[in-house]
Point group: C2
Chain length 145, copies 2
DNA sequence: TCATAATTATTTGTATACAATTAATGATAT
DNA sequence: ATATCATTAATTGTATACAAATAATTATGA
């Protein structure tokens, strides 16, 4: 009695469900490693993108991360509170603002990036090159329209 | 000037970022279709799992959906408010509770499920069988430990 | 020029997600 | 029998995510 039909549970049939389950799993994996630096995966993506293009416009940052502006505003708030980045006025457009890494962020970003690459490598290594390439190709196609 | 290095933006190198981007995209796709029924994808997963096992225990439901208990509590609150499901006391254990679909939910769940399968099929059709099978295999492996 | 439209970032409200804590209840060991 | 431990669901607090509304600024057209 009280049998639990774990495997036939319907939601697991849908890509959307599968993706969200896997995403959360991988997210937690990254999260637990990043926590030693006091940041979350999403915060790392932002730091990483700003590092690549210091002084980037808010708007371009949101676009490059494919992130909603209001989400980015929240993340910038937290990173600014941690003294990891800084908003400055855009001298060319008073509506716009520019985002810079702080000295503190520049001191740890290389190390954090190494960690991120290590985590990534660990995941990659669990699959054959061909398998993983196909996986990434499907993801890429799904992220387009 | 002000070139935007969209493609070299670092975060896009990481599986975690890619997964979250694709997940959000697919999620929005499901979401826009489900909205006609006034439910979200996550709410659909719950309804779907309860439909498969009406009267399931809260604990087993959370486990089968691999969902944190506190997240499930919130979703049940909203579904109950919409009169789509019902919590009842478990006669065998006063700590536990059982979850049931309402008449209202039973009237629309088949139709919503058809929609979900259609959306799923549309995504599947964009790839070759072999490609998609590999994709699902990688997802499956990633969702395990 | 000046009213209107468009753009930019923020704010607000809702919905997951999850860790940590709590309250109620059940199980166990002595 | 009872003190202790374990389990269950809810609550609280934080962090994405995103739509809709807002305020400030810039662009446009008559």
């Amino acid at each position: 009695m009280n049998e639990i039909k774990t495997n036939s549970s319907r939601p697991s049939k849908y890509v959307c469900y599968k993706l969200s389950r896997v995403m959360r799993k991988v997210h937690r994996y990254y999260e637990s490693s990043f926590s030693q630096y006091g940041i979350t995966p999403a915060q790392f993506y932002v730091l990483s993108a700003v590092w690549e293009n210091d002084g980037v416009k808010f708007k371009d940052l949101a676009k490059s991360l494919e992130m909603d502006g209001s989400t980015l505003t929240s993340i910038l708030d937290r990173l600014e509170r941690q003294d990891l980045l800084e908003r400055r006025d855009d001298p060319e457009d008073r509506r716009s603002l520019l985002v810079f890494l702080t000295k503190k962020a520049k001191q740890s970003i290389v190390e954090i990036t190494c960690l991120a690459e290590k985590l990534n490598q660990e995941i990659k290594e669990r699959f054959s090159e061909e398998e993983y390439a196909t996986f990434e190709r499907v993801l890429e196609k799904l992220s387009q329209e």
